[in-house]
Amino acid sequence: MSFFKALKRLFSGTGQHGRTDGTDASTSSGSPGETAVAMIPCDEASARLFEYLDGELEGLSEEEVRQHLAVCEACYPRVQFERHFLEALQRSQNGGRASASLRERVLEALAEDERPE
């Protein structure tokens, strides 16, 4: 294909009528049902990994990471690694409870405090 033909094709492809033959449908936006998000590189997914696991990403940013992790075998161990770590922290949350004596003490102090002098 000549350079000019290629150019022409490129420009016609950007028009309202959408893509020309042969373009990869998965890289263009469109069909609302099956959102085709461009694949982000591993590096970018891992940079956003904590935010993703913490549920702090939204919209496209979250979707990009989700889709990357869904298919990327290389990233899988890393995701599991961070998950197991965060689970260990969450699990330890059950460790501490206010004792009955503390509870009583605090409630007494509050009752004392509101008694009009």
């Binding site: 702090e56 599991q80 260990a88 969450q90 460790g95 503390l102 405090d113």
Partner: protein, 206 residues
């Protein structure tokens, strides 16, 4: 269990002008406040005193609590303030964190030295599952205070980045970098512990 204040709702002070009841909204969070206090002070007695002071102060400030905001976060904010003020008095010096404006939380998230170190032996970090809670606490207690607060609020008490930012009075970006750095440091410590306990063997030594 959040038993209501024995004094009930008829007593002045329990219900504020917005109709929020202290005994119903604040008292049930005592376990969480205690856990936070315990990680701040590192000692049970001090933690209990801190919880009592926090609740007294919260009770006196109850008029300022706006329903709709998360009561747990509000109590953590008070708890932290009481703790910091008490420490100022006792003149114990804080560790100084070298935080630079260039701290990019995403770069910290991207680097994972412990993951890299344990990659051959235990790529998915199964060793984290073997670590007992007491060791997790021990590792948390060794974190610099600023990292520790961020980790406890986010990872143990499940606050969002925005809520942590409010409690600690810092921007969300700083929450991220403290949280991510704290996590990396924790991972190093837990990994070290796992090596010592033989949950994992050091591939680098072979």
């Amino acid at each position: 269990m959040g038993e209501p204040l024995e004094t009930g709702g008829g007593v002045p002070g329990d219900r504020n002008a917005q109709g929020a009841s202290f005994s119903e909204e604040a008292v049930p969070h005592m376990d969480a406040v205690y856990r936070f206090a315990l990680r701040l002070t590192g000692a049970r007695d001090e933690a209990e005193d801190l919880v009592q002071d926090t609740y007294l102060r919260a009770f006196r400030a109850w008029e300022q609590y706006a329903p709709g905001t998360r009561c747990k976060s509000w109590l953590f904010t008070i708890c932290r303030n009481v703790f910091l003020r008490g420490r100022e008095r006792s003149q114990r010096h804080d560790e100084i964190l070298l935080e630079t404006a260039q701290d990019d939380p995403r770069a910290i998230s991207r680097e994972a030295p412990v993951f890299a170190a344990s990659r051959d032996e235990d790529p998915e970090g199964e060793f984290f599952r073997s670590i007992v809670d007491a060791k997790v606490f021990e590792a948390i207690d060794q974190l610099p205070e600023e990292y520790r607060m961020a980790v406890v609020l986010s990872d143990l008490e499940d606050l969002s980045y925005g809520e942590v930012a409010e409690v600690l009075e810092i921007p969300v970006g700083t929450v991220k970098s403290r949280l991510f750095r704290g996590r990396r440091q924790l991972q190093r410590q837990l990994y070290q512990y796992a090596l010592e306990m033989g949950y994992i063997s050091d591939a680098g030594e072979r």
